[in-house]
């Protein structure tokens, strides 16, 4: 099945076969766990376990690599801001401080450093389930799975429309840009002035907006003519079947989630940066 306009990567891994609603649930549970904990043991476990899942998903390395670097970049910026704004937040959380090293008269505390490490690991551990969900869920099943976990179908279908018409907007944007450039309204290398470039970009946006607005009107009519919104529920042509294996996955995912919630409430409560 072609997937022009969506990030879907063709494949046949366990995640490709997994019911999208289950996959979505996994993603949601995973995220909740990540945000519940500030514990290096949990974060490290999730990173390792996540990498294993990523390996199983058979998503090409180059795609993962790009996103990985994006997350790292974001993280570095984040860390810098924390150092500038509240360098002692880790000490506050831990309730004590140990000097790690002296540095040109500044004291660097173990707690502060470890706080940044745990935080970075947290962000990193979000990456695997996100990648898996985005790249192994077929766009046609995306809206359906949203609907299945309770999102109203009118809202869920918006994603379908985005996947459907985004490439077209892209194509239009290209031709409009060219047509304007032919009149000397360019924002490429031809136009040296930055201010003029910005103004020119605006000239390209207007026909594109016209196009989009016209399109939206027509699509709405076309959809309603075919009974969209008539009933409270709708079925899905590309609905993924819910198999026995999916039931097992669901059980495993839910159990693990419960376990982590229990641990968070009863055992591993606060900020912990000691591995063993």
């Amino acid at each position: 099945m072609s997937s022009f306009g969506s990030p879907y990567v063709e494949g046949n891994s366990i995640f490709h076969r997994m019911n999208p609603a289950v996959k979505m649930l996994m993603f949601i549970f995973w995220s909740i766990i990540v945000f519940m904990y500030l514990d290096i043991r949990v974060s490290l476990f999730l990173v390792v376990f996540g990498s294993l899942l990523l390996y199983l998903s058979r998503i090409p390395g180059r795609i993962i690599k790009n996103l990985f670097f994006a997350v790292i970049t974001f993280n570095i910026i984040n860390v810098i801001f924390i150092i500038i704004i509240s360098p002692d937040f880790g000490i506050e959380l831990a309730g004590h401080k140990t000097v790690l090293k002296k540095f040109f008269g500044y004291q660097i505390y173990t707690e502060s450093v470890m706080y940044l490490v745990v935080l970075s690991l947290k962000y990193l551990s979000l990456l695997p389930p996100t990648i898996i969900f985005i790249f192994t869920t077929h766009p046609s099943q995306f809206a359906c799975s949203l609907n299945k976990i309770g999102v109203p179908y009118k809202l869920a279908y918006t994603f379908n429309l985005i996947f459907r018409y985004l490439p077209e907007v892209h194509i239009r944007f290209n031709t409009i840009t060219k047509a304007q450039a032919a009149r000397g309204i360019s924002f490429g290398k031809d136009e040296p002035s930055f201010w003029q470039k910005t103004k020119n970009l605006f000239c390209t946006i207007i026909p594109l907006m016209n196009f989009a607005l016209e399109r939206i009107d027509k699509i709405t009519v076309a959809m309603e003519l075919r009974s969209f919104g008539k009933k409270r529920v709708r079925t899905w042509y590309n609905e993924a079947s819910f198999t026995g294996t999916d039931a097992i996955y669901l059980l495993v995912i839910t159990t693990m989630f419960m376990l982590f919630v229990y641990l968070r409430c009863k055992v591993w409560k606060g900020f912990n940066y000691i591995l063993f």
Partner: protein, 569 residues
């Protein structure tokens, strides 16, 4: 005759909320079960409004005031709570193939209606396959819309309404801007559906010559919101009412009329072969002067394309070794079906895409490697839809925009703007908001803003698509006057009528290869070229064949006649 009335308008009038006067005035019309009806009229005649009343767009989307009565299948759609009741009985195919294809794949789009009706998945899958089989699209079931042609998208939409319980099918300009081959396929499919399902089919269309092939039972002519005539195609053609309301008659009828042959006694005037009588042949022969117009273009060469080839993916050449010259003041039509490579060719000439192989010269300067901005002011490409090009609100500002950016002197800008506005007949409208202009005028605005740069070549992509005959003639006559000023015009089109009437030369492209280059008359009387390029032979050609008269001479004669008839002002 005892036929069931499927649709009944009784003293029906409708006024859009935003308009002062009613768009439909006192319509009385009965359409029977299983009937094939063509509703024809100029743009703005009210023909689309009738369609909107049937499928419920009126009054649920477009509000207004209704008086009189409309019954659909014995029930009044407008008394129902919403649009859906109407849409259950009426399946609609809209004109825009892309907007109505909302699914991410062929199968999904076909199922869209059933999904919304909450049909169980299994039944849905079976019905989708069945419907796609009818429209010959089954093997495309998992294709994305981006891999389909417009014609194929339309077939998928038709498959979609075939899954419904609708008893009435409504088609809004189904031929639209499809290429000749797709038009032929659509007509064939419409015929098949009508024969196998026995559904009532209503087509709104203004391309009479082509739609006649569908052989409608009745043609209903709408003008100014009223029904002027409702009769068999044959009677409608004989009455000459098409011409009176500004629609184009089929070319063969025009030819017979121009030759002042009385055909009021002919039965089945909607079939070209009915005219193949000895009497008519002799009358034609008496009229025809054996004179072939001479096409000499010894003028100065403006644009020269040499050995142009292009490919987007390594394996498949979109264009293969295309060469031609275009002279000053010439109007050249580049013809071919969608996918033949003509858009790529125009993009290469205008510099929208970089040239990989071959060379392009503009009055002896090699411009092969110049950027789009350097080239744009000399070679203007006018896109099909003016809305894709217009940026400003006021006519004058739009036309002067490009000049202002080039930072030319104010006096010069003003002078140039005025000049191009005057040429385009827009000087009185210079301070108007563009949104208040008609479609044809908007198109002129886009041309005026190119003219301001003193272009040498103007490329027009499907300049007359979707326009009725009157707008078509007005616009193309204007293009002719432009050419007289020395600008070379390239028409990118699959409309053979347009090429025949307005171009001085036709270049035919098929599968990326140039297969013909010569006077249109000559190109179009060559059956081999027409079949290879999958173009459509005009009814003029068929008439000449039926009458056994030399085609080239016949078409030539016809062109002389219409030039005379319409008057060269």
């Amino acid at each position: 005759m005892n036929r069931n009335v499927k649709i009944k308008f009784e003293n029906f009038s409708f006024r859009y909320q935003t308009l002062k006067h009613p768009t439909l005035k006192n319509i009385n019309l009965e359409i029977y079960e299983g009937e094939k009806v063509l509703i024809a009229g100029r743009s703005g005649s009210g023909k689309s409004t009738i369609m909107h009343c049937l499928n419920g767009i009126i009054p649920f989307f477009l509000e207004g005031e209704i008086s009189g009565k409309l019954t659909l299948n014995m029930t009044a759609p407008h008394n129902r709570r919403n649009i859906f009741e109407a849409s259950k009985k009426v399946g609609t195919i809209l004109q825009d193939q892309d907007s109505q294809f909302v699914g991410l794949s062929v199968g999904e789009d076909t199922a869209f209606l059933m999904e919304n009706d909450a049909v169980p998945e299994k039944i849905m899958k079976r019905k989708v396959e069945k419907s796609l089989h009818i429209v010959n699209m089954k093997e495309f079931i998992s294709y994305s819309p981006y891999e389909l042609s417009d014609g194929q998208k339309q077939r998928v939409s038709i498959a979609g309404i075939l899954t419904s319980q609708a008893e009435i099918f409504v088609f809004d300009e189904p031929l639209g801007n499809l290429d000749p081959k797709a038009k032929k396929d659509t007509l064939k499919l419409l015929d098949k559906i009508s024969k196998t399902t026995g559904k009532t089919i209503i087509i709104v269309e203004h391309q009479i010559e082509e739609i006649l092939e569908f052989n409608p039972d009745r043609i209903i002519i709408i003008e100014d919101g009223k029904i002027l005539a409702a009769d068999t195609p044959s009677n409608i053609l004989i009455s000459g009412i098409l011409g009176q309301v500004g629609l184009r008659e089929p070319l063969y009828i025009e030819a017979v009329r121009n030759a002042q042959i009385d055909f009021s006694k002919i039965e089945n005037a909607h079939i070209v072969e009915s005219f193949a009588t000895q009497g008519i042949r002799e009358k034609f022969l008496k009229n025809i002067e054996h004179r072939i117009r001479r096409f000499d273009h010894t003028g100065e060469i403006i644009l020269s394309v040499k050995g142009l080839s292009h490919n987007f993916v390594p394996e498949k050449k979109v264009l293969d070794n295309i060469s031609f010259d275009i002279n000053k003041g010439e109007i050249v039509s580049i013809l071919g079906n969608n996918g033949a490579g003509k858009s790529t060719l125009s993009f290469l000439i205008a510099g929208f895409i970089p040239c990989k192989e071959g060379e392009i010269f503009l009055s002896k300067d090699n411009i092969t490697n110049t950027t789009i901005t350097q080239r744009g002011t000399k070679i203007g490409l006018i896109m099909q839809s003016p809305n894709r090009m217009i940026v400003k609100n006021i006519v004058k500002d739009e036309v002067s925009l490009g000049l202002k950016i080039s930072k030319l002197g104010t006096r010069y800008i003003e002078q140039k703007t005025e000049e191009s506005l005057r040429i385009c007949g827009l000087w009185e409208y210079r301070n108007w908001p563009i949104s208040a202009l008609s479609y044809g005028q908007k198109k002129r605005v886009t041309i005026a803003s190119i003219l301001a740069h003193d272009p040498k070549v103007i490329i027009l992509d499907e300049p007359t698509a979707g326009q009725d005959f009157r707008t078509y003639t007005l616009f193309m006559d204007f293009i002719k006057t432009l050419a007289k000023t020395g600008i070379a015009i390239i028409l990118i089109t699959h409309n053979m009528q347009l090429a025949l009437e307005y171009s001085t030369r036709s270049i035919v492209i098929s599968n990326g290869v140039k297969i013909a280059d010569g006077p249109p008359v000559k190109v179009f009387s060559d059956k081999d070229i027409i079949t290879t390029a999958c173009l459509r032979e005009s009814s003029l050609y068929s008439l000449a064949e039926a009458l056994n008269i030399d085609k080239q001479v016949f078409i030539e004669f016809f062109l002389e006649q219409i030039k005379f008839g319409r008057g060269v002002k």
